[in-house]
Amino acid sequence: MRGGALPAALLCAALALGLASAERKAALLGLAVLVVTACAVAVGSIPGTWSDAVFLGCWTSVIASAAIVHAPRDLKDWQALALSLNAGVWTGAVIALAPSKGDLLEALPVALCALPAARARRQGQAIVLKVLASWLIAVAVLGAILQFLPATPGYLADHLE
């Protein structure tokens, strides 16, 4: 199993950590942009042959969104919106390839973590966010590299099937 709700949920979690350094209004607007964009893309149909590119985009976005937590400066409003738009596109694309569109309902609520994350940052607990971001980056790098393996990954049928 490669798709499903998990990659999309991880992207939403990374976005939530990234939005923690944005202004409250921009973060809320970003969450709205994420929901609208993800729903719009998820209802469309994406060819199965694009699967590798879509997952690579999803994992790259997870890395980029989580890496923002380590940036010394706060996120500007337009940057927060651009990040949300990007996350929405890839979340929707991954769900469009998933067996069930209902997976979107499991993934999107994870983005609500932006609210407690922003509070944690304001209270000087940014360290926790940095540690969580490093976990997400670790998972995303593994997910991205998996598709470049010379061996047949476990989620694909092989000659033994």
Partner: protein, 227 residues
């Protein structure tokens, strides 16, 4: 008049109470969001590999990955020690070590996924238990770069062991989430133990633990060398 005086006196207090009330409500809302999201995230991560082929690969995703770091004492002790040592050394290493470890573990996992030959993994893992145990037991306080390098080197061996299994996992993303999450939780547990050093006899407890783990590391090393 008496009532007015009472109101004047209590107005700032009332404002303060209102602020506290708002703050408490926000905290409660945050906790609620976290509880809902973590429950859902756990549900998402626990998805069974029903869509995957079950004939080959690891049967489980998240659960296999979650169990993997705690399935052997050598892995478990090394990861807890990273947290203890980080807390022992204080800022910035208290968070730098738990950040370095998963990132370098990924480097090791990639080597394992591509089957790049490295020195025997069992030897590296046993050495990590021994060296980290000695660092805590002897209260070694190296520069930040040196502590980071030690932890990063050992993280590669631990990651390699995970990476070898990853490609055959039916749900590799769930497996990755599981093992990274367990690793992080073990670090956090270690940091919790390491924070005992702030207490009067806490430093003796943590150093004693470090020494005990170093002995265990010596035993693992003997096993790895076939002695």
């Amino acid at each position: 008049m008496k009532r007015m005086r009472h109101m004047r006196r209590t107005a700032p207090e009332l404002a303060g109470t209102r602020r506290e009330g708002r703050s408490a409500r926000r905290r409660a809302a945050d906790r609620l969001v976290l509880a809902i999201v973590s429950t859902m995230a756990f549900g998402v991560a626990r998805v069974t590999p029903a869509y995957a082929h079950m004939g080959t690969g690891l049967p489980g995703g998240f659960e296999s990955g979650f169990r993997h770091p705690v399935s052997g004492w050598d892995h478990l002790l090394a990861m807890v020690l990273v947290g203890i040592w980080g807390a022992f050394l204080g800022r910035p290493l208290i968070y730098v070590l738990p950040v370095i470890f998963p990132v370098m573990m990924v480097g090791g996992a990639v080597l394992g996924m591509f089957s790049v030959p490295v020195p025997p993994v069992e030897l590296g893992v046993a050495m990590s238990v021994l060296v980290l145990g000695l660092c805590v037991g002897l209260a070694i306080d190296p520069p930040v770069w040196a502590a980071g390098t030690i932890v990063a080197t050992f993280a590669v061996f631990h990651g390699y062991a995970h990476g070898v299994e990853l490609p055959s996992a039916a749900d590799p993303v769930g497996y990755s989430v599981g093992f990274v999450l367990t690793t992080g939780l073990l670090h956090a547990f270690g940091v919790g133990i390491g924070l005992l050093t702030a207490r009067p006899k806490g430093i003796l407890v943590t150093r004693g633990l470090g020494a005990a783990v170093a002995l265990a590391g010596g035993w693992y090393l003997c096993l790895a060398l076939g002695l």
